[in-house]
């Protein structure tokens, strides 16, 4: 119990509570259950993507192509729906996940088989995927009136007071808790990030594990692509522009170490919620939404400084004392 109180998750939970209390002291309507549910739903895409990004970062990689993947899949789903309104939502969901997974696999193969640094691969695919949206759509928008009611209705479908979008985020989070704690793949993510050399000796294929992380991240980006386009009932080239940074920010704030191998699923979810609450609270407390970017930037810097303090490597200390004795 005391270990939990000292943990990153507890500090984040405290920060979120303080934040909510501050907002509630001036604007009590913000913390009403219906509004909190709205905030959670609004943050759901960020939570889903951040969970995918978490496993990628755990394996010492980074995926900057998630927002472009999301936008491309979303555009394909929207165009398919506009062209053939008869295609059932289940088929579109399947298509979205499969398409996203393929795009993730492209990233993964280049990291696994060609050993190209992940940041280079995903910076490249980020622009390629984003450019492809323009190529397939010719820069045109797919608007609400071109989408079928079933297509746009799915993420808003209400179950027990929460829309489907929020339930999907909860489901994905639950699956991640099980996968991370209870499956060999989940443990492999930590092993690969914590010590790739040792992971090889325990029989873990480092490249393959990183590949799997990219496939998971891509599949979730694809899924979110459909949900995003359906929820906002519009698809165009620039949707979710720059969202990859918010996703990385959520992970870093949640305590996922960029050096790999450290961090928890709960941390990521809290990190995403923290950003989501800030984003939704800004207009309520009458701060221009133009502040959002600077605030998330500051949050990233503070969080990474915090991460580094709590995880100073012991190897460095030994070196320093040896230097002192010499």
């Amino acid at each position: 119990m005391t270990a939990f109180l000292k943990s990153r998750e507890a500090i984040l939970l405290g920060a979120i509570a303080v934040l909510l209390a501050l907002i509630a002291s001036r604007f009590p309507a913000f913390v009403e259950p219906s509004n909190l549910a709205r905030v959670f739903t609004d943050t759901s895409p960020l939570i889903i993507l951040a969970l995918g990004q978490t496993v990628v970062i755990l394996t010492r990689c980074i995926d900057l192509s998630v927002a472009a993947n999301l936008a491309l899949t979303g555009m394909v789903c929207a165009m398919l729906n506009a062209a053939m309104p008869g295609v059932p939502v289940a088929a579109i969901l399947l298509l979205a996940v499969a398409m996203g997974a393929v795009m993730g696999a492209i990233n993964g193969v280049m990291v696994w088989k060609l050993s190209i640094p992940p940041i280079v691969v995903t910076l490249g695919t980020m622009t390629i995927y984003r450019g492809l949206i323009f190529v397939i759509s010719d820069g045109a928008w797919v608007n609400a009136h071109e989408m079928s009611p079933a297509f746009t209705g799915f993420p808003r479908f209400d179950i027990l007071g929460l829309p489907m979008l929020a339930w999907i985020a909860i489901l994905v989070a639950a699956l991640f808790f099980v996968m991370i704690a209870r499956t060999p793949l989940g443990r492999a993510f930590y092993a690969v990030g914590g010590n790739p050399g040792a992971a090889v000796y325990t029989g873990i294929d480092v490249g393959r594990t990183q590949f799997m992380a990219f496939v998971i991240s891509g599949a979730l980006a694809g899924l979110t692509g459909y949900l995003w386009v359906a929820r906002y009932s519009v698809a165009y080239v620039d949707i979710a522009g720059g969202f990859e940074l918010e996703v990385v920010a959520a992970c870093v704030i949640g305590g996922i170490s960029i050096a790999g191998g450290a961090g928890t699923i709960l941390g990521t979810i809290l990190g995403a919620l923290f950003l989501g609450i800030v984003k939704n609270a800004l207009p309520v407390v009458n701060i221009s939404p133009f502040w959002q970017m600077a605030i998330s930037g500051t949050a990233i810097i503070v969080a990474v400084a915090f991460n580094a303090r709590s995880s100073r490597s012991k190897g460095r200390i030994i070196l320093k004392s040896a230097e002192g004795h010499a």
Partner: protein, 329 residues
């Protein structure tokens, strides 16, 4: 006579300097540049025109200035993704100064000082607190441009003094623009700095083995701090040129440039893992990217489709040599 007497074939493992040069990345890149040049002149009748070619240099001069400093930074094993946001912040600072009646000399000082301050901020976070540069600069990328958004919102600064337009629109002689001259001078300065000075050797040493460099007496943190400062300075100078060329400042100015700068550096043969790369390589890469963008522009290819080519170029130049090594018999 058996064939035992015939001389055994000894592979010539030590290549002559000429052969090594011929196989080098820079020469390969130069061949690509020439090929693109020829392809462009065949594809569009407007390409081979002194003024058009002069216009084409504006596609890369500002980015290349940053790329020189970024090359040193990446060779040392760090990266700065906030460069485009530094441009936005420096440009916003200059725009705000104009509203308060600043003249051209003040604007230049403000642009350069803003760049240096941003670089110093990155440098302190990375070297002072020992944080990973990729996350720090993703954070400052958001922060710096975020400040521009707070100041400007959906507004824009205009009304720059007429003398200020020289930096981005002036010509030194005939078709040779001021920006191109600045680019050439900076290329020489950075080439000398990296390849002919102690400082340059320190940068390579740190990139190859930072611990080893520290034990051989190199002040690793200080060198890296200077490199962040230089990258900030170059971003400030690029901000002056770009603002002068556009004549206005919006918070979205130079959006996405960090990607193109990193692409230019990597395309120039600098290892993203640090430790190797040259300034001539980056210079040729700047021309390659400028020619590709300009040639596609003459063919009326929209900007976002060009970015597909840039992305493919970035991945292609790294993937092809690795594929070649993998599948070579």
């Amino acid at each position: 006579m058996t064939d035992a007497a015939s001389p055994r074939h000894v592979p010539n493992r030590l290549q002559s300097p000429a052969a090594r040069l011929l196989k080098s990345w820079e020469v390969l890149l130069l061949a690509v540049a020439v090929a693109i040049f020829i392809a462009n002149s065949l594809a569009s009748p407007y390409f081979l025109n002194a003024w058009n070619l002069s216009d084409a240099t504006f596609n890369f001069t500002e980015k290349a200035m940053i790329a020189f400093a970024m090359a040193l930074l990446i060779i040392s094993g760090e990266i700065d993704l906030s460069v485009a946001s530094i441009i936005a912040l420096a440009s916003t600072a200059m725009g705000a100064a104009v509203q308060m009646g600043a003249g051209t000399p003040e604007l230049v000082v403000i642009g350069i000082v803003t760049g240096l301050l941003c670089g110093a901020f990155n440098g302190v976070l990375v070297t002072g607190l020992g944080l990973p540069s990729i996350v720090v600069t993703i954070g400052t990328m958001s922060l710096f441009r975020g400040i521009s958004y707070i100041v400007l919102g959906d507004q824009a600064y205009r009304g720059y003094p007429s003398g200020f337009s020289y930096f981005g629109q002036g010509y030194v002689w005939w078709v040779i623009s001021f920006e191109f001259v600045l680019f050439a001078v900076l290329a020489v300065i950075y080439g000398v700095l990296l390849h002919k000075t102690n400082f340059g050797r320190m940068v390579y040493a740190i990139g190859n083995n930072a611990t080893g460099a520290a034990f051989s007496g190199i002040k690793v943190a200080r060198v890296k701090f200077i490199l962040f400062l230089l990258t900030g300075l170059m971003s400030g100078i690029a901000a002056i040129c770009l603002t002068s060329r556009l004549g206005s400042t919006r918070p979205s100015i130079a959006f996405g440039w960090e990607l193109e700068v990193v692409t230019m550096v990597v395309l120039g043969g600098v290892s993203i893992l640090g430790g190797s790369g040259t300034i001539p390589g980056v210079v040729i890469a700047a021309f390659v990217m400028g020619l590709v963008t300009f040639g596609l522009g003459l063919l009326n290819v929209p900007g976002i489709v060009m970015s597909i080519f840039i992305g493919l170029l970035l991945i292609g130049v790294i993937a092809l040599p690795r594929l070649w090594q993998k599948w070579r018999p």
